[in-house]
């Protein structure tokens, strides 16, 4: 198997937690992985992305070639469009619909959503709202990840195990909140 994912969002939105969760799940399934992430200046409220590559075979490049990406997973709608050139024609966009507005010229959200919908395979979910409904407003990033899990060739339980490991130090409450967030996101994808 081979899955190339671009994780997109804004600095501080929890992209690296998503990456860590997928990474941990991939490791426990003995997959090869490479994950290029953004540090430094661009994290201060700027656009951040992570190229995440999973494969049963060794991976050459840390960067995904243009037109080769299977999934764009975005925690904010506009950012999913920023990397659209990388997406395969039939690749999936999974994006949170709640915009992160920290610039004065943020585009019209409806226009952004309409543009995303022009693609063949799209899941748009209000991850912020879902996270609030299940009582863990800070795990909207994990809700979004949950919605992407059907398209990543890793058993769903592995993601749950990964969350347990990653949030181990933060205690059962945080672990359970994140597992619930993951399941809620998954349910959206399954109900599609």
């Amino acid at each position: 198997m081979k899955t190339d994912i671009i994780l997109a969002g804004v600095g501080g939105q929890g992209i690296l937690s998503i990456a860590a969760t997928i990474g941990m799940s991939a490791l426990s399934n003995n997959l090869h992985l490479k994950q290029a992430e953004v540090h430094g200046m661009s994290q201060r409220g700027g656009a951040v992305q992570s190229h995440f590559r999973l494969s049963s075979k060794p991976i050459a490049s840390d960067l995904i070639p243009k037109g080769g990406c299977d999934i764009i997973l975005s925690v904010e709608p506009m950012e999913s469009l920023r990397y659209i050139d990388f997406l395969k024609k039939d690749g999936w966009i999974i994006t949170n619909s709640t915009p992160f507005v920290n610039i004065p010229n943020y585009p019209d959200v409806d226009e952004v959503i309409a543009k995303i919908k022009e693609r063949k395979n799209v899941i748009i979910l209000d991850a912020d709202k879902i996270a609030k409904e299940i009582g863990s407003p800070r795990s909207s990033n994990i809700v979004a990840l949950g919605a992407a899990t059907p398209f990543i060739d890793i058993p769903f339980e592995s993601f749950e195990e990964a969350i347990k490991l990653i949030f181990k130090k933060k205690g059962d409450k945080i672990i359970n909140a994140n597992i619930e967030a993951l399941r809620a996101g998954r349910a959206v994808a399954d109900a599609r």
Partner: protein, 542 residues
């Protein structure tokens, strides 16, 4: 052994620890910061008593690393590419003194300038110093090179450079560890004058360095990091340096590469292997992430038609490489194919420039400064490098220069010498001890009419909150340098203090000598740092 999932930067730290390192010396700078942070947070490093505290700047780091090597132990010095400019004096001379215990200088370059002012290629510095350079293509090689680098260094008694780039430093992959080696015992250099660079000794040492060069090449020739892959299609040969090798191979994940290929991971270039490739192939494509060093070398004045790369437009002259650019250079994809799927999203997707955190003290300081300067007009604020550099962007538009670490005070002084009075300098606490202090001495010696704003947030904010060497010392340093204590003024940058801040600034701007104003409030990102908060309380800074 279970593989570790490490950033390239972390792999270097782990390799150095496992290779018997006794100390790391560094000043934080993206993308090199994580090397030292890894050592700081790693229990085994603590157990082994490995030194890992931040240095005041890259030059002091380089010199301390050389000192540890002098005493026989293995040391690593880390910095970002522009940091090597600061350390250059010590770095170049360390090639002349040579080393005793293994000495690695790891420099992280930033092609595409993700968080830097330029994209200079540190391999030039390595070549300039005439020392061996290692350039990893993967996280595993990053580990291996740090691990074996000490042995290479000790074999020739020479510092060895490891050059990585942002992409590798900040990308994660599985890394397999090697057996943990013992640290060296304390032992003084066998040659008692080796480290004394009096001209007569330096001349001798320099001859020794030149004589070693043949050995460096021989080692490169045999190095497992330099590999010649035979190929049947000799119309084109390829030389791929470091990470460029991965981008090349990405294009051959489904098909076979039939061109002869020389993968380079250790410099100086393995001569025989290069000659073989040049002889065997009609044309040669050079893939290097950074400057076209090898390309230039092989092009010389002749053979222009034969050598391709960044200089003849086969690849762009600037920016980092990627699989698509290499596909284009190899004519595996046309320009259209690479960009074909591009959709018209340009009008919708807006830039999201980085910005200071909401509530950051720098913002309040800039708002006051802008108002205080409104009587004089724009164009008088010389800044430095740190989060406050983001004050160049709207809505603040508060600064007019940002050149290198420490340039703010000295540029303000030069502008004041030229008659631009008042001239203002903005510098952070960590940058001030990095290289602002010496400039302040110049200004004090001539009573230059400048206002220096040291925006003190107790930390190195831009790189994520590392220790600041200035913590609790700024006023004393300024006094010691000779600033009139009456013109060293501390206040808290908060919205509610705006009018008071403006009044202070106006008064100091009117003063015809050196004044230092210190807006002091903790970086928001470090508020949860227990150790830092403890120190701040101890020093009574709040």
């Amino acid at each position: 052994m279970q593989k570790l999932l490490l950033l390239g930067a972390e792999a270097i730290a782990q390799g150095a620890i496992d290779g018997g390192m006794s100390g790391v010396y560094a000043y934080p700078g993206t993308p090199s910061t994580e090397i030292t942070e890894y050592v700081q947070h790693y229990d085994l490093a603590k157990e082994r008593n490995i030194h890992s505290q931040w240095s005041a700047n890259e030059k002091t780091a380089m010199e301390a690393g050389l000192g540890m090597s002098y005493a026989g132990k293995r040391a690593m010095v880390c910095m970002k590419h522009v940091g090597l400019n600061v350390a250059a004096d010590a770095f170049i001379n360390s090639a002349i003194t040579g080393s005793n215990g293994g000495l690695l200088v790891t420099v992280a370059d930033d092609p595409s300038m993700h968080s830097s002012q330029n994209e200079q290629d540190s391999r030039y510095y390595g070549k300039f110093a005439q020392i061996p350079i290692l350039e990893p293509a993967s996280q595993q090689e990053a580990y291996d090179m740090a691990y074996f680098g000490f042995q290479l260094s000790e074999k020739f008694s020479i510092p060895v450079m490891i050059r990585i780039t942002t992409r590798l430093a900040h990308s994660r992959a599985g890394v397999e560890r090697k057996p943990l080696l013992d640290q060296n015992e304390l032992i003084l250099p066998s040659n008692p004058t080796q480290f004394v660079l009096l001209p007569s000794i330096a001349r001798k040492q320099y001859k020794g360095l030149l004589n070693s060069f043949a050995g460096f090449i021989e080692d490169s020739e045999e190095s497992p990091f330099n590999h010649y892959f035979e190929g049947t299609d000799k119309k084109l040969g390829i030389i791929a340096c470091g990470l460029a090798y991965n981008y090349l191979m990405e294009n051959y994940s489904e098909t076979e590469l039939t061109h002869p290929l020389l993968k380079i991971g250790q410099y100086p270039m393995p001569r025989a292997k290069v000659e073989k490739l040049m002889k065997e192939c009609d044309e040669v494509l050079i893939l290097e992430d950074g400057y076209p060093i090898i390309e230039e070398l092989l092009k010389g004045y002749l053979g222009k038609e034969k050598v391709h790369g960044r200089l003849d437009g086969s690849l762009p002259r600037d920016g980092e490489l990627n699989p698509n650019l290499i596909a284009k250079a190899l004519k595996l994809a046309s320009e259209e194919e690479v960009t074909e799927i591009s959709e018209d999203v340009k009008d919708i997707v807006k830039n999201r420039p980085p910005a200071m955190c909401v509530g950051c003290g720098h913002i309040d300081a800039y708002n006051a400064l802008n108002e205080a300067l409104s009587d004089y007009g724009v164009g008088r604020v010389f800044s430095d490098i740190g989060c406050y550099t983001l004050g160049a962007l709207p809505p603040y538009n508060a600064i007019n220069s940002c050149v290198d670490m420490g340039a703010s005070i000295t540029m303000a002084k030069g502008a004041a010498d030229a008659g631009l009075v008042p001239a203002v300098s903005v510098i952070g606490d960590s940058t001030f001890t990095h290289s602002g202090m010496t400039g302040l001495i110049d200004a004090v010696n001539e009573s230059s009419p400048i206002t220096v704003m040291i925006s003190d947030n107790f930390t190195t904010g831009m790189t994520g909150g590392q220790d600041s060497a200035a913590l609790g010392k700024i006023e004393d340093i300024c006094k010691g340098i000779g600033v009139d204590p009456e013109h060293i003024i501390v206040f808290t940058p908060l919205k509610k203090n705006h009018d008071e801040m403006v009044a202070i600034m106006k008064k100091e701007l009117a003063y015809k000598g050196v004044s230092v104003i210190i807006p002091r409030r903790q970086c928001i990102q470090t508020t949860k740092n227990v150790a830092l908060n403890e120190r701040i309380r101890e020093l009574n800074l709040r």
